[in-house]
Point group: C2
Chain length 239, copies 2
């Protein structure tokens, strides 16, 4: 990585998960000065926001938390009274259907706020940690969605009218497997003990080990040959 950005500001969406933590590290390795943005969006647990705060602090980054109330709309297992599905094995995940953990238009809303923040701060760069594993199931993680958002964003803002620096949405993880993301992050010094992936953690922030996200995380660490520092509710860990 080179300091290609030369200290320019970039807005980084930070969820507290391992993907966005790696995304932040990649942006910084590329020379951007990060402004991290997280959301308290009526998810069942505040563990994600706390993880984001710790990650931003460790990175020495400014961190902004926005309160959204997506519970007003419902429609997702992450924000409404719908059970988070549990599985015994990662092979049980069906990438051909949209999971009930999908939050309607979530990434559109997150990127819209990131765009507003970028415009106010004069940042022309946004980072979002979507990757290949997500976009099999979530419509708003697909490369074609991000490309369409970027086109829209350039028409939505001063930059679009005034012809100044066009806004670019970076997705450095888009083609990486979970194992590749972890390997990249370890090289950059990411402390994955600070990250959280579970859709259904307990009040102590310990992972369930059986939701889609836990299974994919555990598989990634296994394949990367790295020990996952995640704390689990059961001593057995993830399957």
């Amino acid at each position: 990585m080179t300091a290609a950005a030369g200290g320019r500001p970039a807005v980084i969406l930070l969820s507290g998960g391992l993907d966005s933590a790696t995304c932040l590290a990649l942006a910084m390795a590329d020379g951007f000065v990060p402004v991290t943005l997280s959301f308290r969006y009526g998810q069942r647990h505040d563990v994600e926001v706390e993880a984001s705060r710790l990650l931003a602090e460790r990175a020495g980054s400014e961190h902004i938390v926005i309160d959204l109330d997506l519970r007003t709309f419902g429609g997702s297992a992450l924000t409404a009274d719908i059970d988070v599905p549990k599985h015994d094995d990662v092979a049980d995940l069906d990438g051909s259907v949209i999971p009930v953990t999908y939050v309607p238009a979530r990434n559109t809303i997150f990127l819209a706020y990131a765009l507003a923040l970028a415009e106010v701060r004069g940042a022309a760069d946004l980072f979002i940690g979507v990757n290949a594993l997500d976009y099999s199931g979530y419509p708003d993680c697909r490369p074609e969605f991000v490309a369409a958002f970027e086109i829209m964003a350039n028409l939505a803002t001063r930059a679009g009218v005034e012809g100044t620096a066009p806004l670019r949405i970076h997705t450095p993880l888009i083609d990486l497997t979970k194992a590749e993301i972890i390997t990249t992050g370890i090289e950059l010094g990411v402390d994955y003990a600070l990250t959280t992936s579970c859709y259904d953690p307990d009040s102590a922030g310990r992972a369930c080990g059986r939701c889609d996200s836990c299974l994919l995380r555990a598989k990634g660490f296994r394949e990367a040959g790295v020990t996952d520092p995640t704390r689990y509710q059961n001593e057995a860990g993830a399957t």
Copy 2:
């Protein structure tokens, strides 16, 4: 107008101004069942939200108000500590520059929420009351912005993945002058006394008569040959 929509739900962005009030009336005249959506977004006054509530109530529409805090970002005279510009005459307005009342990425954020609500409710139609007068100054009121948002929205959601009814963003006011909007609304029975346009009303909700929005509204009513029911802070009204 025909009942072309046959009772299908549509999400209508309702600001409490005369444009969105007319937009709501047009959607209903076209047979849509409206779900109106308003935002408390750190604007200096709550007059807009109250006007929206009254308009929705009069229309017999469900009304959802979302709290956003765009003050966290600042950058606009409507949400930060920047004076709202006042003029003596509508001819003083300069359509060639973006006004300081522009709120960064506001319509992107509003439409993103509308998209989420539409997806949860199974609505394939969104209405936003942008019009020709706005898009000379605000980047996110331009037809090309709305068209790009629609393309993005269809990639962002279940509809895009599952190939069900594509989402459509309706902008029925886009080519109308303020006078034409008012004439249309009067025909449809819109009570413009319920609407508010001023960027800088007093605590009683009375208009300043001298901000861009007041001047454009007054000009519209004058050209439509209709008396504006707006209550002003000064007896002289708008110039």
